[in-house]
């Protein structure tokens, strides 16, 4: 067993390497990450056999990825935040092509204003693109999810690109112990891509094109992507079962931590959810029956399984590290939708927004969320949505505003003279 300390970026690179990726198109400049730097280093030293091509934008990078995948080679690429948005036109397009490849996104809050730290509005902007979407919470999960993502993407019943998400800083720059699977075992789990009809041979040139179609055929093709996503749920179960048999690590569509006898549940995604696990342990010690549900698969969303798991709980607190302006937490809406109409749905579904732009969530904030949610279960009244934001933070904000106003005032005075 090769268990080493590596960052989330390193784990992502190992995922691409062990998957025996053929082609890595990459935009090499900010906000690109060390994932691509690591791969280019390995390729240059001959430790990895793949072709890397640097492109002038994420838009071109994703076009190259989709085009290469359409010829039947195994493709890997990566981006982050603004880069994912810059390539967004092609994110939707290559999913429509049914081009199977894996894209890693390192989550970072979006501009404006600017932050370097994570939240999930970047990756959620790709939610409705047709990409399969897996969210990792540890560096180990980053590596493993990439291998599983290839199985899903290349499954002949699915044939869609897959996005694996990890949080900037909290995973991307953080070293943790990661077990690097044996290459020959990975080869058994993930054999060479059998592209069947997806192929291109230079001695038999052919063209692939996407036609301009009216609403009827358009509806058919778009809905087929939706149905293929539905089939990815079964493909995910098949892949993760084999993965567990080969490597011993189990990956359900969502992680359920100490949920069996839980009365209230936290629901959240990404690496901050491990903080929630620490809080669950502490709260359990103090006698509160609380657990955590963390969706790994966001697309396809495991609606039925989630509904079954949340059934009968007294209350659920969804902690969203994202914000749909004018609506609220996106995961909260997804969970509400999944639970609507279920006979034994939890009567309380509370919404908390926290961790925007990497803003920390302190242990005592989880305790407070648990307290509020339990009180809501007792009273039967759902609390209003809550942004995790303290008086101390607002005081700091007021200081910044005072400086900005002083600057503005000085500029106006200078303009008068």
């Amino acid at each position: 067993m090769n268990r080493v300390l590596i960052t989330g970026n390193g784990a992502a690179a190992w995922g691409a390497r062990l998957a025996a990726t053929d082609y890595v198109p990459a935009f090499p400049i900010t906000p690109q990450t060390e994932i691509i730097e690591t791969l280019s280093d390995w390729i240059a030293r001959g430790e990895m056999t793949a072709r890397m091509v640097t492109l002038e934008s994420e838009h071109s990078m994703l076009t190259a990825a989709g085009a290469a995948a359409a010829t039947g080679v195994r493709v890997f690429t990566a981006t982050s935040s603004q880069g994912l948005l810059y390539g967004m036109e092609m994110v939707y397009t290559v999913a429509g092509w049914r081009a199977p490849f894996v894209l890693v996104n390192v989550s970072r809050g979006l501009s404006a204003p600017i932050t370097l730290e994570p939240d999930h509005n970047d990756v959620l902007a790709a939610r409705d693109s047709g990409f399969l979407q897996i969210h990792a919470a540890t560096c180990q999960e980053v590596l493993d999810s990439i291998l599983i993502a290839y199985r899903l993407a290349e499954d002949s019943e699915v044939r869609l690109p897959a996005l694996v998400n990890l949080d900037g800083f909290y995973l991307s720059f953080t070293r943790e112990p990661v077990e690097i699977p044996e290459a020959h075992l990975v080869r058994e789990f993930l054999p060479a891509f059998d592209p069947e009809t997806l192929r291109f041979r230079a001695n038999a040139p052919e063209s692939q094109a996407v036609a301009v179609l009216g609403g009827g055929p358009y509806s058919y093709f778009r809905y087929e992507v939706h149905l293929a996503q539905g089939r990815a749920l079964a493909a995910f179960d098949r892949a993760t079962e084999e993965f567990q048999a080969a490597f011993g690590r189990a990956y359900a569509p969502f992680e359920a931590y100490r949920t069996e006898d839980a009365e209230i549940l936290f629901v959240m995604m990404g690496s901050f959810a491990t903080k929630a696990k620490a809080a669950v342990d502490a709260l359990r010690e103090a006698g509160t029956k609380v657990g955590l549900v963390r969706p790994r698969l966001l697309r396809p969303f495991p609606v039925t399984a989630l509904r079954g798991h949340l059934a009968g709980k007294r209350a659920v607190a969804v902690i969203d590290q994202n914000l749909s302006m004018g609506k609220g937490g996106i995961l909260h809406a997804e969970i509400a939708d999944a639970l609507y109409g279920a006979a034994d749905a939890p009567p309380i579904l509370a919404s908390f927004i926290g961790g925007l732009g990497g803003r920390d969530i302190a242990p005592e904030e989880f305790y407070e969320i648990a307290r509020i949610t339990r009180e809501a279960a007792d009273s039967g009244e759902t609390p209003p949505p809550r942004l995790l934001y303290t008086a101390a933070e607002l005081r700091e904000m007021r200081k910044l505003q005072t400086i900005a106003e002083a600057e503005h005032h000085m500029a106006k005075e200078a303009g008068k003279s």
């Binding site: 720059f173 903080k275 010690e285 008086a391």
Partner: protein, 316 residues
């Protein structure tokens, strides 16, 4: 769980120090998490890195708020509020400062409940670069915990620094040993903080935000021409030097300068604003009579500081 932070400036090896300590813990069988933390900083800006080590899997993430041990490579950042060196230090914490200033001076200066220990700077250490402090702090931290051996630390130094070659590795193995010996009287000084109890947690003081006037709630600063305050001249590697013997005052250099850093003087000759010229050398390429030379900044500065040649005397 051990929670340890390293503070220094960008370029002083704080990330490497955290990785050496992290790897030492890992080699000793601990679960480990280590990470650097910085913004859009450059060399010289305050940065920090942290290590968590435990015998069970670690669920905690992010910045360490209540450290058991804080180590500072550059004592000039201790009083800088933005560096956050003193954040979360209490009676349980130990603060190790690499400094030539004695412990009692630091104690009276800082007046904090944490115990302060000063580790002397390596002899002949460059005050700005501090190339050797990081490894020493990592080795000292290891011994301060009392749960790691010198073999763990030396193995970690070899593992983390092998990319730098055998010479740098040998030098730093020596650094580690020196610090290991220094830390003898302090062995076991640092201990794991007892877990916080849920029963007596301090409730977060959450506030409700309200919609405010847009002029106030949009992230925009309307100030004076603040870019003038940014001395981009520091970026320059080459400096344009204009020969008045050849200049025909055509003004093309002023027109092409992307920073508006060339303006005419009283005689109509172009003059370069060296505080803002970034050294792109577009003016050199555009000058039709080749009156502008690209002079290496190092040479130009050397001339400036030689009064006999420049004839300008001492500059402040």
């Amino acid at each position: 769980m051990y929670r340890i932070r390293f503070h220094g400036r960008g370029g002083q090896g704080m990330k490497t120090a955290s990785r050496i300590l992290g790897t030492a813990f890992f080699r000793a069988g601990f679960e480990v998490q280590d990470a650097p933390r910085y913004g859009a900083e450059r060399r010289g800006a305050p940065v920090f890195a942290y290590v968590r080590a435990d015998r069970a899997p670690i669920f905690e993430r992010g910045v360490i708020l209540r450290p058991d041990l804080v180590l500072v490579a550059d004592d000039t950042i201790v009083p800088v509020p933005g560096a956050g060196v003193l954040a979360g230090l209490d009676g349980h914490s130990i603060l190790v400062i690499a400094s030539d200033t004695p412990e009692d001076v630091w104690r009276s200066r800082l007046k904090i409940p944490a115990r302060i220990v000063v580790i002397p700077l390596p002899e002949g250490e460059d005050a700005a670069e501090r190339r050797h402090v990081g490894v020493r702090l990592a080795a000292a931290a290891a011994r301060l915990t009392g749960v790691l051996g010198l073999g763990d630390v030396k193995g970690a130094v070899e593992e983390e620094l092998k990319r730098l070659g055998p010479e740098a590795t040998a030098e730093n193995l020596n650094n580690a040993e020196v610090a290991w010996q220094w830390a003898v009287p302090h062995e076991g000084l640092v201990s794991e903080r007892p877990a916080m109890s849920v029963a007596d947690y301090e409730r977060p003081q959450w506030v409700d935000l309200h919609a405010e006037d847009t002029a106030r709630s949009a992230p925009i600063i309307r100030g004076e021409a603040t870019s003038v305050e940014v001395r981009t001249g520091l970026w320059r590697v080459y400096r344009p030097v204009i020969s008045h013997d050849h200049c025909v005052k055509c003004g093309l250099c002023m027109a092409y300068c992307p920073d508006g850093a060339i303006t005419p003087n009283a005689q109509g000759f172009p003059e370069v604003d060296l505080e803002h010229c970034k050294g792109c050398m577009i003016c050199v390429a555009q000058c039709p009579v080749h009156a502008i030379a690209a002079v290496s900044e190092a040479d130009a500065r050397e001339k400036e500081t030689q009064p006999s040649l420049a004839g300008q005397g001492e500059k402040a």
